[in-house]
């Protein structure tokens, strides 16, 4: 009899607590930042597709599903490290199959050579090229992510990727710290 009472009591308690917990799980649900958004925030948003996915968000989704984190050349090692930190995996060097880390660049159209074919406009992932059919096109430099995607479609090869110039306001205090000294040999 006592065993039965104990079983009933514990059974009822378990049911009550289960209901409370179930209710709490629904009522006080924590809207956590989904992992894809967090990965997407780390990626450089060049939308260049060098990783093999059509943009940064698709790559973020792929990483969330277990893809390698070292496929983003524009982000470079710092992005890989941040991703490794977030995903709790080992940071590894950039996979050179997808490209090498390079200085930041911006596309520039040689405007007198442009024939106005609009092919680059269609290729630009961030709508940073301005123009219309049979009209000269131009790149909105501060919107350009330097993704390279407009270079290949151009039938007259009039797009150059030029490194972003260093100006006094984005200069990184790269003073020459240790000047090279010529030491003459004694013999």
């Amino acid at each position: 009899m006592t065993v039965l009472t104990a079983l009933i009591v514990f059974g009822v308690l378990a049911l009550i607590f289960g209901l409370i917990l179930g209710f709490a799980a629904v009522r006080f649900r924590v809207e956590s930042d989904p992992i894809v958004d967090q990965i997407d925030a780390i990626l450089p948003q060049t939308q260049c597709g060098q990783c093999g996915y059509p943009g940064c968000r698709p790559y973020a989704e792929a990483i969330a599903n277990g893809d390698e984190i070292n496929k983003c050349p524009p982000g470079g090692q710092s992005t890989i490290n941040a991703l490794a930190d977030l995903m709790g995996v080992e940071a590894k060097p950039l996979d050179s199959a997808h490209g090498e880390e390079d200085v930041k660049k911006v596309a520039v159209i040689r405007e007198d050579e442009c024939i106005g074919c609009t092919k680059c406009i269609q290729a630009c992932p961030v709508d940073a090229i301005l123009g219309a059919a049979k009209q000269m096109h131009t790149v909105i430099a501060h919107e350009c992510t330097g993704c390279d995607l407009c270079v290949e479609p151009c039938p007259v090869d009039c797009i150059d990727m030029v490194p972003v110039p260093v100006r006094p306001d984005n200069w990184q205090w790269d003073l020459q710290q240790i000047p090279v000294r010529v030491v003459e040999s004694s013999n």
């Binding site: 450089p44 961030v126 006094p168 990184q172």
Partner: protein, 532 residues
């Protein structure tokens, strides 16, 4: 009146942590009156000589300009104008070297002087109290006045903040070694500085100003003491000699005991600070209508024959200024713009004097030894003892080297005023400030990149949405066209016209009939064959 305010009124001087006492060496340059400088042949005027956006160009190559004529205007970006320092012709507008530690080029207006030094007609103001505060601010802005103490923040912008103020502080401390530009200006033009201070008080809507002078400038102190009796709303405060007591936050602590909050402004604690040079320029701009086209520059160091203070037109090349002062360069001569603690070495002597240039220092290699090789940190802690902002310079250095930007933020890197006290005392010759500047630039760059990435993301998403929408619209258009076609056919049938469907059906029926006929004919042939 609270006890704290009483103490401020009574003239109490508080103290700030840290600080150093480097050799002052001001006697090199402060013995002679401020001398005028002969006109140069060419003047180089960078569009941006202050912190903020540059103004919009008003002139083009070939234009004749007179001294005081505006070359740029405030414009859409709320820039600060620059003015022609003398009369002449504009011979170039384009990239030229600017007064910046990077030695990089920026847009510069080149004026070839005609030697006549004709000035534009000035518009003096008889009584500034008669015109509105906004008009006064406009007048100061159009005169191109930026803080002449070193940071170059536009003065009108600083004064435009409308918050309750307890005191206006006029900074005549000039604590950096060698420099005596403010010292000489205070000795010779105390009355104009006082006039400027009263105008600043009027604009700021503030009751009282404190004029702070370091104790090593007895002549300047005497000049003000003689005049201040007639100006009850101004009070003189003599601060003890210590570097960097002229730093904005440090001086506020000295005079009021208040601390400016981290990443805050003096106005957060009810104070605003202006340099004595700025007060002088404000007086000239408001009372005489004179724009900022010249400033006092200390030329000093053992490798100039005539060290002293000079009225130098803005845009004067440093090479010309030094030539006029008897420049005797030694091999590998360094020329420093600013003082020995916070200045920077010039990459080229074609660099012009700008609004924030208070000193050109030409030291011999004995008096200011070139930077030695950096040695390992021995963790002596001397840097932490002297830091006026109570930071941990050595910790910051480790974090900067490790590029640990979160850690730097936790250690309040952005509270560092880059005074150089830590690097001065470092026995291992570690260029600490350089590490902090580099780390700050990198952190700012990361923030800029992040903002740019955010914009790129938005644009990418907007484009994806647009493409999707266009696809849907195209499908919708096709569907509607098909429907319209069907409807038109139905209507045509209803009106007794030919139904294209009927034609199709008829063709199918014909084809079937033909097939049936062929099949029948084949059967017939087979039968006849069998029979034969």
């Amino acid at each position: 009146m609270s006890a704290a305010t009483k103490a401020i009124e009574a003239g109490q001087i508080w103290t700030f942590p840290g600080g150093i006492h480097p050799p002052e060496r001001k006697e090199l340059s402060n013995q002679t009156p401020i001398a005028p400088l002969a006109l140069a042949q060419e003047y180089y005027l960078p569009l941006k000589q202050h912190s903020g956006a540059p103004g919009e160009l008003l002139v083009q190559v070939g234009d004749q300009v007179k001294a005081g004529q505006a070359l740029t205007q405030v414009g859409a970006n709320n820039g600060l104008p620059v003015h022609a320092p003398t009369s002449g012709t504009i011979t170039a507008i384009g990239p030229g070297i600017i007064a910046h530690p990077s030695g990089l080029a920026d847009t510069v207006i080149t004026i070839t002087a005609d030697g006549n030094d004709e000035h534009i007609a000035l518009e003096p103001l008889a009584d500034y109290t008669q015109i509105s505060r906004a008009d006064l601010l406009e007048r100061i802005k159009n005169a191109g006045i930026a803080g002449l103490g070193g940071a170059g923040f536009p003065t009108a912008q600083k004064l435009a903040l409308q918050r309750p103020l307890d005191y206006l502080i006029i900074n005549g401390v000039e604590c950096e070694p060698y420099i005596s530009a403010d010292d000489r200006l205070m000795r010779e033009h105390a009355q104009t500085i006082i006039d400027g201070t009263e105008i600043l008080l009027h604009i700021a809507g503030c009751e009282k100003a404190l004029i702070a002078i370091e104790a090593n400038k007895p002549e300047a102190i005497a000049a003000f003491e003689a005049l201040l009796d007639k100006h009850p709303q101004l009070a003189l405060r003599v601060v003890p000699v210590k570097y960097p007591s002229g730093g904005e936050k440090q001086l506020i602590q000295l005079l009021t005991g208040r601390q400016v909050p981290s990443r805050g402004l003096p106005i957060d604690v009810g104070l605003v600070m202006q340099n004595v040079g700025t007060a002088f320029a404000v007086a000239q701009a408001v009372l005489q209508g004179k724009p900022l086209i010249e400033r006092v520059v200390t030329v000093t160091g053992e490798n100039v024959e005539k060290p002293g203070n000079y009225w130098v037109r803005l845009g004067t090349p440093v090479a010309y200024l030094l030539e006029q002062c008897g420049f005797k360069p030694e091999p590998d001569q360094r020329v420093i713009m600013g003082g020995p603690m916070m200045g920077f070495t010039l990459a080229e002597l074609a660099v012009p004097v700008v609004k924030i240039t208070n000193c050109i220092l030409v030291p011999s290699s004995q008096e200011l030894a070139p930077a030695q090789d950096e040695m390992a940190c021995i963790r002596c802690g001397a840097c932490a003892d002297v830091c006026p902002a109570q930071l941990l310079p050595q910790q910051l250095q480790w974090l900067a080297k490790a590029k640990d930007y979160d850690g730097l933020d936790q250690q309040n890197l952005f509270d560092c005023i880059e005074c150089g006290a830590c690097a001065y005392v470092c026995p291992s010759e570690i260029p600490l400030v350089h590490y902090y500047r580099k780390a700050k630039a990198e952190i700012r760059n990361i923030a800029r990149e992040k903002a740019k990435a955010e914009v790129a993301r938005e644009r990418f998403e907007a484009r994806q949405e647009r493409l999707e929408r266009e696809k849907q619209e195209r499908l919708e258009r096709h569907r509607k066209a098909a429907e319209a076609r069907k409807k038109a056919q139905a209507e045509a049938v209803a009106q007794g016209g030919d139904n294209p469907q009927d034609a199709v059906q008829a063709a199918i029926a014909r084809a079937k009939a033909r097939k049936a006929a062929q099949a029948a004919a084949a059967q017939q042939e087979n039968k006849e064959g069998d029979d034969a």
